[in-house]
Amino acid sequence: MLEKKVAIVTGGTRGIGREIVLMLAREGADVAFTYLKSGQEAEKLVNEVKGLGRRCLGVAVDVRDFEKAKEFIEKVKNELDGLDILINNAGITKDKAIMLTAKEDWRDVIDTNLGGVYNMTRNAIITFLKQKSGNIVNMTSISGIIGMARQTNYAASKAGVIGFTKSLAREVSAYNIRVNAVAPGFIDTDMTAGLVEKYKGEIEKSIPLGRLGTVTDVAQAVRFLLSDSADFITGQVIIVDGGLSLQL
């Protein structure tokens, strides 16, 4: 499906990002991903992707850094010969009650989850505009749609990503560039591990489909948005939450 395409995934070594990297490679794309600290996992993933017969780059990039994002995108374009797909996935949480949320907790989450989307997209968009094609998928969260207690920073960043997605979709639609978002609910990853362990039974009860989501559930939604089947879809948010947000 994605043969001869070059894709970038930010935050590619763990959880949803890792699954998206592997999905892209299985679909035939060459993949470059960023990571922050997980150097060993990155090396393993590069080898895994290469094992699928695709080219792969794993680079340590803090998505909060505009210049580093720029260097990374230039490197990908040079070494993998182009750029067709951008998946803005890198994200962090620092869940706290608002009265305990320090300025740094606020800034780190907003700068990574929302600022990172700007930094990567701003540096990739001219390539897409010039070639009159491109596909962007931003990872948001149901937290940014329905809100979650103790996640004011995270929810604000993810709601911001939705506004960004819709505005950019309008701005670049004439250039054959589609921009969409995927909003996962409770997905079984490192990010939700602490929460899930404590409240697993309750969480599962609150999800109409009766289970936590898997990283594959999310990667499949991304796969759909990148496919020709989604050719007429832009500026949308696909919620992958087993129906959780329906009840609220």
């Binding site: 001219i126 505009l129 010039k130 004439a174 250039y175």
Partner: protein, 82 residues
Amino acid sequence: MQEIDTEIKDLIAKVIEKEPDEIDPNARFAEDLGVDSMMALEILAAIEKKYKITIPEEKLMQFTTLNETVKIAKEFLDKKDA
């Protein structure tokens, strides 16, 4: 007027949907010709494609008139030939 001047003038005319004769070499793109940032980018992309050169995006802000655009294109053509 050199050949490249005419070529770039034609190319700009096509992007901004005007007749080449309507483009004064010193007319300001934004103020006089209604060129927006996306059109400027299309001009840059068209020049890159025609002459098989790469112009850094930072130069985009300097695409202010036909004369300036030709100057930048020549600069990068010279670099290519060097």
